[in-house]
Every structure is written in C-alpha cells, then in structure tokens.
Symmetry: C2
Subunit: 512 residues, 2 copies
C-alpha cells in the first residue's frame, strides 16, 4: 500500500483541516519542489492535539509495559513495510543515498524494538520496595515503595540530519512512548513527506493496538511558531530536540520561563575532538589519514558525531597532513540535506578561511554543484586556537580544523574546550596511561570516549551514551541513544503505606 | 574536645583571614547575639576554595567507593562526637529543642553512613559492559561500557530549617561527596556556630582520611554575595539548595545564564495537600483532627513537608473542624528559627486572614512571645480557592488552609495545584479505587503519596522520594533524601574500545 500524501497534520486520529500553506518538500540536489504543499495546523488544532495528549496520558501511562511494547513493535512493523516509499521519497527530500534511507529505516525499527524489549522485561522502572517495621524505635518505619513514572505529554522536534532515526518515530519518540508519555511531534520542514509516511505508520499502529487517541500527533507549521506554542503549553512536560545551538537554546529559554519550567533535551552542537598521539602516527600516518577522512566525510559530514576538530602534535604528523590534504583535494562534493544547511556550511568555511592564524590545508578541487558541500581542512596553531573561542564553533558538514602544538599546548587547548558528545584518542595503551590527565580532561567534557576509532556510527545499545555537557546537549546528565534514554522522560514517585490494590503492579508484593 | 569557634571560613585545610564582619548567631527566642562575630571570606579566598575543589576533583573522583565511604564514615564519627557542643549551640542558635538537635545529629550521621554503605557496595554506578562483536554484519560492534561518573565540584547551600541534616554535612553534601564531587558549602546566616562545629568535623575527617585539600570548603559571607559568586564560577558543575522559592529561583536564573548552564537542585516550597475522604471521617473525626494538628505544628510547622493545605468535603467533617479549632485555640506558640522566618509567618497569616473569602477557623489564644509563631487555621470554599492562585502560597510555620467543597470541586481544585513534595489521602481502600482519577491527579503533582498518614517525618531510605514537580523543587526528576539522591551529581559516560588498563575499575572485565 502506498501512503497517500495529504499534506496535513495528524491531530490524534483525525487529520488537520488547515488551509495555510507552510512549505513543501524540496529536492536539495535540484531545487525541484515536491508535491504536495503542506498546510499548517491551526491554533485550535494545536490546542486539540495537546489536549488529546493530556487526556491520553492517564490511560496510556497506566498500560502495562507489555501493552506499550506491543504498540512500539506495531510501529516498527508499519515503518518497515513502508520502506520502499521511504527510500523513494527520502532520497528526493534529503539528498541522502537510498542505502542510507533503507539503513536508517532499519535502525528506526530497531530502536523501537529495543525499547519494546526493555519495557517488556520491565526492570528499568527501578522498583524499590521497603516493608514497614512497626516495632522500630524510636518511630515505626512506614511501608515505602518507589518506581519511575512517566512525566506526561512530551514535545518532540524532528531533526533534519536523521529524517527517520531522530524524527517522527525516532529515538526521542520511541523513548517517550516507551516511558508512557504521549508524544506531540513537530515535523521538520526539510522532509515533510517522509514525516507524513511515518506519521501514517504510527497512527495506524496506534489504532490497531487500541491506543487512546492523542497518544501521538504530528504537526506541520514550523518549529518557530507551532513548535514554540507546543513547548509553552502547560500540558507539555518535557521536550526532545536535535538541531542547531540557536534552536536548542531558544527552546531552553522558553521552557525555563514557563510558569512551570520543564526539562529540555536538546542535542545541539559538538565538534567531537580527536587527539592524535605520536604512537598512533607511528602505526602509519597514511592509513590514519584515510580512516579519518572517511569519518569526516561520511554522510557529507552531517552527523552530530562528525570529528571536526583534530589535535595533532607539531613535532610529528606531517605525513598525516599530506595524505589528508591529497584526499581532500581529490575528494568529491556531496549534496547536503537542504539549502539552509548548505548555505550555513559555505558561510562557516568562509569564516574559518578568513580567520587570522587559520591556514587552508586543502580544499576539494572539484567545484561543488547545486546544493553541494565540498570537503575542506584548515590548520591553526594551538596558541591561536586557544586565543579565539570562535574556532570551537561547529562547521556542520565535511569541514575540519586541525590544531597543532606541543603535547602541553594540546592539553592546555583541551582545557578550554566546551562540552562534546564524543572525544577520541588515537595512540597506544601506554600513551593512555602516560597522558591520564589529558584523558580525564576529555572525559570531563564528553559523553563518550573513543579509543583508536571514530565517533561516527553510534551504536544503539544499553551502554551507549549519546549526550555530553553543554553545549553538546542542554542536559549533560542524559543520553538520546540507547536504553538509558528512557530515563529522560521519567521521575521517581514514592508511595507510603498504600494498600496493594492501589499500587502500580510493579510495586505490589510478590512482583519484584 | 570543644571546637574553638573562630568565626572564619574553611578554605580547604586553611582558615580564612577575612576581616569583614558578616553577622553572628542570634538566639531567636531572646534576640541575644552569640559570639563570635563571623567574618566573610574574601573574594580571593572564594576563588581559592573553588580552585582547590577543581584540583581535588580528579584525585577525589578517582578514589574507590570504599575510600570515599571511609571518609563519609569518618565525618559521621566526628559529628557524633561533637553532639554535646551541637546540642548546646544548636538550641541557642535555632530555638529548636535539645532532643531535636540530638536527633538531627543522629540523622545526619545516619545519612552519611547510608551513602557510605551505598558506595562501599558499589552497584549504584550502573556499570554496563557490552563486548565487541567483530564479526557482526553489516558492521562490527565495538566494545562499549558505561557507568555513572561525578559531575565535578558542587555548591551546597545550608538550610535554615535543618541546621544539620540539610546543612554543612547534610544530605546534599553527603550525596555529592559520595558521588565523588568536592563540595563548597555556603553557610546559612541563621546558625553560623553550628556550621563551624560541623565544618571542623568534616575538615578533620578529610585530613585523617587523607583526602585531597579542596574536597571540602565552608564559606561565610552570605548566599546573595558569596553564594552567587560560587554558583557563577565555571568550575562549579551543580548546586544543592533548600530554602525559599525566591532564593531557589534566583539560583536557577543564575545557573541557566552561565556560559555553561548547570543543574540546580533547589527544594523550594510545598503546601503538601492532604485530602480527607468521607471514609476517614467515619473512623473518627476527633482522632484525625488530633493527628493532623500534631503534624501541622511539629517543629513549629517549619518542615518542608508540613501539611498546610487540607481538602475537606463540605457535607461532612464539621466535627473534625470543631476539634481542630479547639486544639488550635488551646495550643501553644513556639519559637521560630529566626526573626526573618518569624516575620514572614506573621505577614503570611495576616495576608490569608484578610483575603476575600477566607475565614479564620481558629487562632491560638495564647499571644506569641518574642520570636514565636502561633498556630492558626483558615477555611475557604473550593470555588474561592480555585479563583485565587495566591491561596496556594506556602505559609511557612504552623498555619493551614482548609478548602471545603463537594468531591467534584475538590477534584477540580487539585487539578489547579502546583507541584508538591508530598500529597496525602485519608480514606478507605475502596475510596482509593473509587477516586482513581483524583489519586492520579495527586500523583502527577507530587514526589511522594501518603495514605492515612502524615507527610512530616521523612524516612531516609532507598525508596524515599523527597522531590516533586516545580515549584516544590527546581528539578522534579530528583530527590534530595534517600540513596537515589546520589544520581543528582552524576552523569553516564561511555568508553568505546578502551583497553582494560584505562577503564575505571567498575568497567573492567571480571569486576561486574
């Protein structure tokens, strides 16, 4: 079955009747507009979506983990069965290759199933039961039991760079639904058709699983207008976002100044520092340059874990640079996700190229075509890097800055770094031990440390941490990938001296 | 040994040389000033305390849980051995009875030992180990391991109403130190002598346990000046606070607008609603009134869990009110913690007494003496309560508001309530089932639900949740009492493909 693209929002189980155009899909490689034209949800429909979520919450959150797991699995099946449509429309809307669309479809379904398995098993709720001790002195101990409970309806913003795995039914939606929170999704203007296909899949799965209306809505109309209205709504209890630092910080500001502030989980910007120690160079500089270049240019550099900042000792690594320069020069431009990202990439690389102290090591010889970004690598001395905080800015795309200095200067540079999603060290086991304080400084600034590898290719598993101190994320205590992500949408609640019949099943005697 | 009171801050292992007076202890029952005069830490000393904490962090956080547990236990022993001094000085400075001072000393030592036991055992770090799968298709799975790591140096503000259990070595300090975070404590002006006695105990324990200098500092000089400077300092990574809504929100604002925002755990204000259903009245209205009065006036009503808001059906409960009124009238005023709290209590009760629709049910017949607060109970209709959000304001002290209405009006009133530390229901098991949506509405607004009991007397244990949605706390996902409090000062960090020798002990093979 091919999903008919209606160009309208999902307001619970109904479709929007809005008639105000708010954009349409655009093929970033050609500029061609893709039908249909999308219509913004009306303010009344936004209100209705949020109100339906509030009404669904007591019902949905009271379902057993097994029941919610069934819903998540039904979404996964529906999405997988739409893979041909996704592959077709996704390539048109995002410029990403078909294999990536198919792979990301699999990852999205896999994430949903991972959370289904987690809540099916159930121990994630951290049920704690302490029985009363009536004869304790000086005062009796009451019966106390606690477990994690969902926060309430959650607003999820789709990401441009993961049109499936961090969009309508992506990681944030999967973890919020798994926790027991209804979700109101705000579509990204960059891939409205993909969003509608997936929105249709989720809605169909909700219906067939008997979920209460309002457990899911999908709104078109733009993050700045409709998105802000949703985040300001008193019903919404948390926000998931993946995007720019500007966008994430605007949401943080709104959420903090509501009458009731709420948590925002914004994944914003990270340059993912990579430190190359002499022992890694000794293993072969050309091989290292090739592996680095592959990670830098994967997906035209449009991953949050793209290693855009390299620290290289100045007494070694010349061959690494020479090889890397050749790869960059002989490399190929690639189509970027949308015109705005493409323009921002051009502006950021232009800015770096003209910054005092920054040299252009190499630039792709091939002129980028329409909508394309081309690899470029800059170098700067550690001293100039430390003197100019703007050089810590993210170049979203296949551009990198290589900082050269003594090992002492590299350590000093790392001490100035902002928070990161990842930090990578290439070297030997002996070098890790010899540079323990450098490793500790990186650990303090990152969610994940990688040794002799590359940060791109985020494993979806129980020990993944895809988070990190500000500004990598708005809340460095959380992860958006892996099973731990479910904790973001929960809080512990305690029951004191409640009868068995009024306790959640997980807290009743004989269940734990 | 009697601790000599020097009137100066602890800057790591040194004492402040500041010469700017910033106040002294005052006996709230007499107004007498207690020597010595305290001197504010100088800006350079504040900087040094924070810098020492930063230097201590890599060393202290790398210690084993057993080593940190030894430190916590040493603090507990030192505090217990100062109990006579604490009892003497505490009664003078706080107006609290001697038995409370002794009991709170025991609770403080008990909290330290609870966290010591937790980190001695060690599983709280949630170590997750996933081995590599080199032959996995389409790509190999890396070796990934994660665990909780401490955030960094923490600022802790002492509370006026728990001069031991939520002050210098109270719950926030104990949980932060247990997590591996050095602590910079800001003394409360209300009990500087107690703070110095406990600060001396912590410092002595740190020295004798071989802890790095800077693991603990204690600063005098005021929350508004020195406290803000500490929270703004880039080294500080989290804040613990118990106090007023105004104070907590000021800290939230500062923390959110740092170049790097940091989490603030502020416990601020809660009126702890108590819902009385007809079944509870049927068991005996006089007995219920007596138990309620005891909870309301415990510690002159100066507990965060004081049940200051009661919902009572208007078709029943007249006898409850009559009995409660008699208890209030024949009750006794009590000395409050300090002049500022005493004045605020007088102002708040005056405000309630003159609010349209509010009646004074009963007022303590005995005139309050110097520094005293006297019990008072107001009533209001549910309709008037819902129409006036100001009636949700906390009266810190032995004052209560009783809201009367139909069960439907009571449910509607609860839907307007802000976040609370606790919510209590008195009734029968059958009533819990019959009023499931009322119970759910309370659950959504509170950290702890109490059935047929009273929220005062917070059990310190593994299943306690002493938190709740804003404005009860700044971060409803956390608790400040119980073992779960340690999570506030941690974040998960992942290591990918690291050699065994470079992993934390908890993540090495054969340890988990």
């Amino acid at each position: 079955m091919i999903t008919p693209l209606l160009g309208s929002s999902f307001i619970g189980y109904a479709r929007s009747a809005g008639t105000q155009p708010c954009g349409q899909g655009v093929n970033p490689g050609t500029g061609d507009k893709l039908p249909p034209i999308y219509m913004a949800a009306t303010p009344a429909e936004v209100e209705r979506a949020v109100t339906l979520a509030a009404a669904a919450f007591p019902v949905y959150s009271a379902l057993s983990g097994k029941a919610r797991a069934g819903f998540l699995r039904a979404i996964a099946v529906r999405i997988e069965s739409a893979v041909e449509e996704i592959a077709l429309r996704g390539v048109q809307e995002t410029g990403l290759p078909e294999a990536r669309m198919r792979g990301e479809t699999g990852r999205t379904a896999g994430q949903l199933r991972m959370f289904a398995t987690l809540i099916d098993e159930g121990s994630w709720v951290d049920a704690r039961i302490e029985h009363a001790q009536a004869d304790r002195l000086p005062v009796p101990k009451p019966d106390l039991r606690s477990m994690l409970r969902p926060l309430g309806p959650v607003a999820v913003f789709c990401a441009s760079n993961f049109p499936l795995a961090f969009s309508v039914a992506g990681g944030d939606t999967a973890s919020a639904l798994a926790a027991g929170c209804p979700v109101v999704v705000i579509a990204h203007a960059s891939h409205p058709g993909l969003a509608e296909i997936v929105g249709h899949a989720v809605t169909a799965a909700a219906r067939e699983s008997g979920m209460p209306e309002g457990v899911f809505s999908l709104l078109y109309g733009g993050g700045l207008t409709i998105g802000q209205a949703v985040v300001k709504h008193p019903v919404i209890q948390a926000v998931g976002f993946t995007g720019s630092r500007t966008g994430g910080m605007a949401l943080m500001e709104i959420a903090e100044h509501r009458p009731q502030p709420i948590p925002v989980y914004a994944e914003m910007s990270s340059v993912n520092p990579l430190v190359i120690l002499p022992g890694a160079l000794a293993r072969g500089e050309a091989v290292l340059a090739e592996a680095y270049y592959a990670s830098l240019t994967l997906g035209v550099g449009q991953f949050c874990t793209n290693p855009g900042l390299v620290f290289l000792p100045d007494h070694a690594g010349d061959e690494f640079l020479t090889h890397l320069g050749t790869l960059v020069e002989t490399g190929a431009p690639g189509t970027m996700l949308n015109a705005s990202i493409c323009n921002a990439y051009a502006a950021a690389t232009q800015q770096f190229a003209t910054t005092l102290g920054v040299q252009t090591l190499a630039r792709c010889a091939q002129e980028p075509g329409f909508g394309q970004g081309a690899p470029v690598v800059f170098t700067v001395s550690a001293r100039d890097f430390m003197a100019n905080p703007a050089l810590q800015g993210e170049i979203f795309g296949p551009g990198a800055l290589i900082v050269r200095g003594s090992l002492v200067e590299i350590q000093d540079s790392i001490a100035t770094l902002e928070g990161q999603l990842t930090a990578t060290i290439h070297g030997t086991e002996e070098e890790l031990a010899a540079h323990a304080s450098l490793v500790f400084a990186l650990q303090q600034r990152a969610g994940r440390l990688v040794f002799n590898g590359f940060p791109t290719g985020v494993e979806v598993c129980t020990s993944m941490v895809h988070g990190g101190p500000f500004p990598a994320t708005s809340d460095g205590r959380s992860t958006s990938v892996g099973t731990l992500a479910i904790n973001r949408f929960c809080r512990a609640v305690a029951w004191q001296n409640f009868p068995q019949s009024a306790l959640p099943a997980e807290l009743q005697d004989g269940r734990a």
